[in-house]
């Protein structure tokens, strides 16, 4: 078990800068998820930690030791790959024990540790099978078993669930969560799926274009996204974003308005002066719809309703053509083309600076 710290870590391929100075501190036993759209550098960052990519600049420390130029096997890490990367010509037992074989562990201990790993993953009955005889989920377990058996200081997961089907993915997600509690190990997990990030993480790192957008606990990111990118990325359905103009600035925040939004005072620390353009963000769950146009601050027309059982998703077209999404309790009944007004608690809304460009 160990802490991990990335200090101004950089990676470039010639002129292409892929990782542009990343600072992350990972506590001992923490489950950290790197999340971001494809091409954001999250996998590269993980491979740099694993030692599979050279580090172009900055420092990487594992357990307080600088490991920039240390070979992968000396770093005390184990990695689980997206494609499982299990050896097709070996049995499950040999696969799990491969790291121990390489480390020349004695036969007794070898058996003990392989069996222990198999017991943790509940796959003792599969030990003598070949990978070709396993299902996707079982292969993933073998890959995790290979990591567990080496008792590494840090576990690295590179999109381990993206090759599984939806139902299996949920099961494995829960198992990885349980595994983390059971082993109490430091884990770093890369995914592009914000649901995995939200459910598993102690701490989420949102990356974009090789830069950290925000680091924080899942609910902090959900409630207090630091910028528009995080606001869009975290949460499903995605946060509603409305271009607004500041009408006046008050002691607590700004009074903002837009075409189909009545002036409303939003408490915020976001800087702005009268006339500035800002973006108002409000989660679909915090919008309360009403047929009465007078009660609400936001106005629009129902474009489409989706009934999911637990909730109903309303697609609302605003007067200027832009869209809003509201998530309502199951019993809310609105039909297409209904005029609708929406109220919300200004304290639940966030104001963001518009993105440059």
């Amino acid at each position: 078990m160990a802490t991990l710290s990335l200090k101004n870590l950089k990676k470039s391929y010639g002129e292409a800068h892929v990782i542009k100075g990343v600072d992350i501190e990972v506590e001992d036993g923490e489950f950290v998820v790197f999340v971001g759209p494809s091409g954001c550098g999250k996998s590269t960052l993980l491979r740099m930690i694993a030692g599979l990519e050279d580090i172009s600049g900055g420092d990487l420390e594992i357990g307080g030791r600088r490991v920039n130029d240390v070979a992968p096997k000396e770093r005390g890490i184990a990695m689980v790959f997206q494609s499982y990367a299990i050896f097709p010509h070996m049995t499950v037992r040999e696969n799990i024990g491969f790291g121990l074989t390489i480390a020349r562990v004695k036969k007794d201990e070898w058996n003990e540790r392989v069996n222990e790993a198999a017991r943790i993953l509940q796959m003792e009955h599969l030990l003598d099978r070949r990978p070709s005889q396993l299902s996707g989920g079982q292969r993933q377990r073998v890959a995790i078993g290979r990591a567990i058996v080496r008792k590494p200081q840090v576990f690295l997961f590179d999109e381990p669930l993206s090759n599984l089907d939806a139902a299996l993915r949920m099961d494995m997600r829960m198992e990885i969560g349980k595994l983390h509690k059971q082993l109490d190990a430091t884990m770093i997990y890369v995914t592009h799926d914000q649901v995995e990030a939200m459910t598993l993480a102690d701490k989420i790192v949102v990356l974009k274009d090789g830069k950290v957008m925000q680091i924080g606990a899942p609910m902090d990111l959900y409630h207090e996204p630091a910028n528009l990118f995080v606001a869009r990325f975290i949460g499903s359905p995605a946060m509603n974003l409305i271009d607004v103009t500041v009408r006046e600035t008050t002691a607590r925040g700004h009074v903002v308005e837009a075409a189909s939004l009545d002036p409303v005072e939003i408490p915020t620390a976001t800087p702005g002066r009268a006339g500035d353009r800002l973006v108002l963000g409000i989660r679909p769950q915090y919008l309360t719809p009403s047929h009465d146009a007078a009660t609400g601050k936001l106005h629009g027309k129902v474009a489409f309703t989706e009934r999911l059982g637990t909730e109903t998703i309303l697609d609302i077209a605003r007067a200027d053509g832009s869209k809003l999404v509201a998530a309502l309790p199951e019993d809310a009944l609105f039909s297409t083309d209904d005029e609708i007004s929406l109220t919300f608690d200004p304290a639940r809304a966030r104001l963001f600076l518009p993105e440059a460009g």
Partner: protein, 382 residues
């Protein structure tokens, strides 16, 4: 839209036809050689190999037993036995006792030979000659028969060519020589090429791309270019003509293709697997031995088959680097060339020699054909 994968192409008949043509082209001479190698020179001279499968109608001149074999039964003297004694049995349809009338009697009929001497010949060749007086003379009665004889094959050619130690033209020594050339000439390049291919596929070092380009370049260099300089070099450093020289030559000529094939295969193995092994602490050598080699088995096998067939059938390289005037190191291809000169008319000898030389490649091919196809496709189709 008829040519989408999975639907039958309208040219299926052309495919089938060309398969049939190829199979016939291959089978006709091969089976011919095979059958001829089991026939005597007389049979080869008198009929084609395709006729040897069926019973043939032949006119034979056979002899009954000599008068000394007669026994007295009552007042008669009798000679009986089987005309086919000492040769293959057949079924007699017609027979005669004079060279001018060889088919006057049917099987089972009785001929009067004069002097009250009667001869009866049955279809299976058994005969009975009865005479009231004692028969005289040194030789048995001649009988001309028209008989259907069943196919007849002999192992004599093989016994003669392989197991007769007194036969100076025998193939056994050449067979051993060929094996001595072929096995090391297959194993050595594979071992070297496997290491080289791993390095060129998965290890990073300066000049790697140039090396690969050089290997590809060497693929198209004709080996005839190198024969004389290489032989001079071998002589200069004291290897001279011999097995070591021919092993080195085959290794050198085989390496470009071996490295190229194996590298292409290895580079197609999943990167994750190799990186995973690296993270697990394996060194390059351990990755090579424990992961790459077992996974590259189809490619290794396919190249091994190629190299084996090519060195087995090679004449040119062996002539230049191995065969000398002592004849101790003659390989089979060379032995067959010599037989063509000295025994050009003895087809049964040539067919047998050729088939001995073909047998091993054919066996290797049939035993390993699935690796051949798999290894060839492995680089291109994923």
């Amino acid at each position: 839209m008829d040519n989408i994968a999975g639907t039958k192409s309208s040219l299926t008949w052309a495919v089938h036809l060309s398969v049939v043509v190829l199979v016939v082209l291959w089978l006709f001479p091969t089976v011919g050689l095979f059958v001829s190698s089991f026939r005597t020179s007389d049979q080869i001279a008198s009929s084609g190999w395709w006729a040897s499968m069926f019973p043939t109608e032949q006119n034979l001149v056979l002899r009954a037993a000599a008068p000394s074999a007669q026994v007295q039964e009552g007042t008669d003297f009798v000679i009986s036995g089987n005309l086919f004694e000492g040769s293959t049995a057949g079924r007699i349809s017609r027979w005669g006792t004079s060279s001018r009338a060889i088919d006057v009697y049917k099987a089972g009929e009785t001929a009067d030979l004069g002097d009250d001497k009667m001869l009866t010949v049955e279809a299976d060749g058994s005969y009975r000659m009865v005479s009231p007086t004692e028969m005289t003379g040194g030789r048995g009665e001649r009988v001309f028969v028209t008989a259907k004889t069943p196919p007849e094959f002999t192992f004599d050619n093989y016994r003669n060519m392989l197991f007769d130690p007194s036969n100076r033209e025998g193939m056994s020594r050449a067979f051993i020589s060929t094996l001595t050339v072929t096995i090391p000439a297959t194993v050595i390049p594979i071992v070297i090429a496997a290491f080289a291919a791993y390095a060129l596929a998965w290890m990073e070092f300066p000049g790697r791309a140039l090396l690969i380009a050089a290997v590809v370049g060497l693929l198209v260099v004709p080996l005839q270019l190198a024969l004389i300089p290489l032989l001079k070099f071998h002589n200069a450093i004291g290897i001279g003509k011999g097995f070591l020289g021919v092993w080195l030559a085959h290794t050198g000529f085989g390496l470009p293709l071996a490295i190229y094939l194996l590298r292409n295969y290895m580079v197609g193995l999943p990167r994750d697997i190799i990186e995973n092994a690296k993270v697990d602490g394996a060194t390059d050598f351990q990755i090579f031995i424990k992961i790459i080699l077992p996974l590259s088995f189809p490619a290794l096998a396919s190249f091994a088959i190629f190299q084996f067939l090519w060195t087995w059938n090679d004449l040119l390289v062996a002539m230049v680097f191995l065969v000398d005037s002592t004849g101790e190191t003659t390989v089979m291809t060379k032995a067959i060339v010599e037989l063509l000169g000295t025994r050009g008319g003895n087809w049964e000898i040539l067919a047998t020699a050729a088939f001995i030389s073909m047998a091993v490649p054919i066996a290797v091919f049939f035993a390993m054909q699935r690796y051949l196809v798999r290894g060839l496709l492995a680089g291109s189709v994923k």
